[in-house]
């Protein structure tokens, strides 16, 4: 049971990573990151159950809170970038390089 949960979590995490790597839209990338975090949350829950300790579940609560905060900040930043570039396509956003 535990290995299935962990495997599932790993697959989800990988999907998130691949999404970040392949997509060029800032919002989609951000959503993929959220997917990664939630994959980890799944692991935490499973492991928490495995060890019979509450730590993992506490951790998940923190992660969810922080993810929410991150979402708030992130969307604000994406809006700000949209104001400047009229686009959230990362391919257009490379003033800074070298």
């Amino acid at each position: 049971m535990i290995s299935e949960a962990l495997f599932f979590s790993a697959v989800l995490f990988t999907i998130g990573v691949v999404g970040v790597l392949t997509r060029r839209n800032a919002i989609i990338i951000f959503m993929c990151v959220e997917l990664m975090l939630n994959a980890v949350n799944l692991s935490f829950i499973a492991l928490s159950r495995l060890h019979g300790s509450a730590n993992g579940q506490v951790f998940v609560l923190f992660v969810m809170t922080i993810a929410a905060a991150e979402a708030a900040v992130g969307l604000a930043i994406i809006i700000s970038i949209f104001r400047h570039h009229k686009s959230v396509d990362l391919r257009n956003i490379n003033l800074l390089k070298g």
Partner: protein, 507 residues
């Protein structure tokens, strides 16, 4: 003074400086939104945030002087924490000071940036204190989220926005790795408490793939935060795009706090798995030292050059993590003091010479600076030489590097090769640090060069105090050496510094 961390009130006592800072920051946030935004109001918030930092600083010093100690728990009450707190707070004060001058110059009305600085600082202090991976995560996120916003604090700047976006996306991405790493370590050891993990990770268990993958992902997460190659690529862009005081803050404080947590986790949680992580970390240290320096050679923009320089310094600091013992921690702290002063001083000079809209930042713009403002150029030369690690003229920078090399040579597994590579990397770095000196002192002033404006008070103080402290303690580093030596994580205080090194030339 003794804190029993299982009692909430005593836990609060042990977190006194953190609480002061957070509560103060909240109050300042209220103040900053209380009235219509104006430069004057923002300035007031800035000054108050400096005062708040000073109060926090005093409380840290008070606890430090009182030899506070505590039972085992989620936070550490030890000198390492206090020392890191002091460095972080000092960096915050410097950043706020620079921010006040910078905002005035750029007509940037942003009272909230000071509050964000304070919040980031509180995250850093939490990192310095953390003895539990949950706290580590909280600290990192608190610090990072505030930093994401800080990067884009100048809403008029598209470069600032781009920096914020890149930092945010990549930061969140790396958080995923860090978090996954924590999860796996938790899975392998059944605990998020660092000390407990430390006892669990021993010779027998460390072959657990869960644990190894966890350690590996933790390395990725931390290395992103400290900007180690190849997880560094956000650094130059973000440092260049962000407002200069924020860049200075990130280059010094963010890196310091992330490293503090990195070091503590490594010293307390994973010594049992040394043979597993030492080679990857060595390689990371090597490519960071070399990579940061060689790319810095190519830079034309001062901020970008300093960004790559900060990457190279992350490589030097990684050496202390590789060593991961009390000597490494002392070397780390000492290095951090010198590095913070030098790098923030350098950014302060950049701010002093800045033209509105962040122009006049190319290295070529500094040509002949010595002829028009000799003291500013001299101070910059001191910072450059300090970053290079040159004795006397570079002040503490030399002893910092010295300390790191000493830690490398004196480690239980002597890192002679790393020490030699560190030295070679330093030689490479001479190419660009001296390049700045050269441009300032040996090139003539361009005919179309912008006139140097009088340096604003805050910036002035930052530049010359930093230079003065660097130089003073570069001659007589006794005080800082003693402090650094006594400021190792609590778990190391009674442990020996490793077996006396015998005559093995290399490991």
């Amino acid at each position: 003074m003794y804190f029993d961390l299982s009692i909430p009130s005593q836990l609060a006592g042990a977190l006194l400086p953190d609480l002061i800072l957070v509560i103060g920051a909240m109050l300042l946030l209220l103040l900053s939104v209380w009235r219509k935004e104006s430069l004057g109001q923002a300035r007031l918030v800035g000054l108050l945030s400096i005062v708040l930092c000073l109060i926090t600083f005093a409380s840290v010093v008070w606890l430090w002087r009182a030899h506070a100690s505590a039972s085992a728990g989620i936070i550490a009450v030890d000198n390492f924490r206090w020392a890191t707190d002091c460095i972080v707070l000092a960096a915050t004060i410097i950043a706020a000071t620079l921010m006040i001058d910078y905002s005035e110059r750029e007509q940037l009305v942003s009272a909230e940036s000071y509050v964000l600085l304070l919040l980031a600082a509180s995250g850093m202090m939490l990192l310095a204190a953390s003895r539990d991976l949950i706290v580590v995560f909280l600290g990192i996120e608190l610090m990072s989220i505030a930093s994401y916003v800080l990067c884009g604090v100048d809403r008029r700047s598209s470069r600032g926005a781009e920096a914020a976006l890149k930092y945010f996306l990549l930061g969140a991405f790396s958080t995923g790795f860090l978090l996954y790493g924590i999860a796996l370590v938790y899975g392998a050891t059944g605990s998020t408490d660092i000390a407990t993990i430390g006892t669990a990770v021993t010779g027998e268990t460390f072959n657990n793939p869960l644990l190894l993958a966890g350690i590996g992902l933790l390395i990725v997460g931390f290395c992103f935060k400290v900007a180690a190659v190849p997880f560094h690529m956000w650094t130059p862009d973000v440092y260049e795009g962000a407002a200069t005081p924020i860049t200075a803050f990130m280059a010094a404080a963010v890196k310091a706090a992330a490293f503090a947590a990195f070091l503590r986790v490594w010293i307390e949680a994973f010594p049992g798995a040394t043979s597993a992580w030492i080679h990857p970390l060595q390689w990371l240290a090597v490519i960071t030292m070399i990579g940061g320096n060689v790319v810095a050679l190519q830079q034309k923009n001062m901020k970008r050059m300093l960004a790559y320089s900060s990457i190279a310094h992350a490589g030097y600091l990684l050496v202390t993590v590789v060593v991961a013992n009390s000597l490494g921690a002392s070397a780390f702290l000492f290095y951090l003091v010198a590095y913070t002063l030098a790098t923030m001083g350098a950014f302060a000079v950049v701010i002093a010479l800045d033209e509105p809209g962040e122009r006049n930042q190319e290295i070529a713009d500094y040509a002949g600076l010595w002829h028009v403002s000799p003291w500013l150029a001299s101070a910059m030369a001191v910072f450059m030489l300090a970053l290079l690690g040159f004795p006397i003229a570079g002040g503490m920078g030399f002893f910092a590097k010295w300390y790191v090399i000493d830690a490398a040579l004196h480690a239980p597994h002597p890192q002679t090769v790393l020490a030699v590579i560190l030295v070679i990397a330093s030689v490479i770095s001479a190419g660009y640090y001296l390049g700045v000196v050269l441009v300032m002192f040996m090139k003539p002033r361009a005919s179309d060069a912008v006139a140097v404006r009088p340096v604003q008070t805050g910036t002035f103080l930052v530049i010359y105090l930093s230079a003065f402290i660097l130089l003073l303690f570069g001659v007589l580093p006794n005080g800082f050496v003693t402090l650094a030596r006594d400021s190792v994580p609590i778990s190391m205080v009674n442990a020996p510094a490793g077996p006396p090194v015998t005559a093995a030339a290399s490991q």
